[in-house]
Symmetry: C2
Subunit: 210 residues, 2 copies
Amino acid sequence: MVKVHQSSENLDSTEQRIYIAAVDVFLEKGYDGARMQEIADRAGINKALLHYYYRSKEQLFKRFFADTVSAMFENISMVFTAQLPFEEKLRRFSEAYISFLIQRPGLPLFLLTEIRLHPQLIENTMNDLKLKSRFTMMKLLIHEAIEKDEIETGSALHLMIHIVSMLIFPIVGKSMIMMLLDLTNEQYAAIIEERKSVVPEFVLKTVKKS
Amino acid sequence: MVKVHQSSENLDSTEQRIYIAAVDVFLEKGYDGARMQEIADRAGINKALLHYYYRSKEQLFKRFFADTVSAMFENISMVFTAQLPFEEKLRRFSEAYISFLIQRPGLPLFLLTEIRLHPQLIENTMNDLKLKSRFTMMKLLIHEAIEKDEIETGSALHLMIHIVSMLIFPIVGKSMIMMLLDLTNEQYAAIIEERKSVVPEFVLKTVKKS
DNA sequence: GTCTATATGGAGATAGAC
DNA sequence: GTCTATCTCCATATAGAC
């Protein structure tokens, strides 16, 4: 869930409603395309009140962005704490990650786009959250597995990129894939669901020692 | 190369300079972030002249977008005409596709983003270009290989998605990957270069009949 | 074809009453 | 806290001289 910066007040408070509306609009339209008027409309209030709670569009965006990135990576790292063989970790990771993305299909493309378009807007956020150290866990996991002779791979780095790419890209490229392969929304959803198991099995075929 | 809508005039013409500037700005800032003033400045002319050649921002964008999508998919389909075994086609495709993307690193993320943000702006474009039929070639290629017993795979559809994901995502997710893995620009470039061969070899390990 | 000047509208942000 | 009204700026687009 996306956390909210707020001192534990009523969930139905105005501030909360504004925040929720802002999340929707920013995700749909991006920073440049988002309109304060639309956020106000969806929250059922007016622009003035919006500025009363969040001084500016920039501040509102920054709060939302920090929360969102944080949620995204919290979710990833959970899988790695368990003590399990590489195979099982990979299966659980794929399952958990795709499940997470299914619920927030617009998130990865949004993040990638905003990082590119507004690096200065998000710089502080990225430094605050210790993302690097979190992600390093995945690298360590794979190195560990290699040392334990569980897997065989030319490059742990490339293997990581393979896995992440196969999990995230189909979500990011939804519009393109649907168009090119002539899929309905239902077919597309089914394919994504399948990938929870297809991707780890595909990877394991390649790297498992026999 | 990105084609230009223009009746074969001087390459240094004003219209041409505007178009080139527009390509740069749109790719950098996206449709919403692009400013006509900036395009005019980079072209070394003023806004009025810009509107003289291209009536509106929307029209300018549409022309550029159509050209760009076209170029992107022209390039893909070239590989499939040759009569070669699946293995060799896959290697050539990976090489050609990554080479293409290295020269236009911002392109895939731009396309994916604009398709999502402005579907109505690009609808005509997508219908005009017979993208679907072009991409179907890749599906056919894989089915053909399966029938010829060249490869073994659970699902041709997923295999296609695997390949495309592993090729495109590292380009799309450059900012994220660089940040998370703590890479310099040089290291990142080297990794992308490596993927020209790493990806097809990875895939072949899984699907090659032995 | 190219310019300066300006029209027009929309966006973020604030003032000030209640 | 919440509203209406308004300010200010900036972006697209056009008018009209040269």
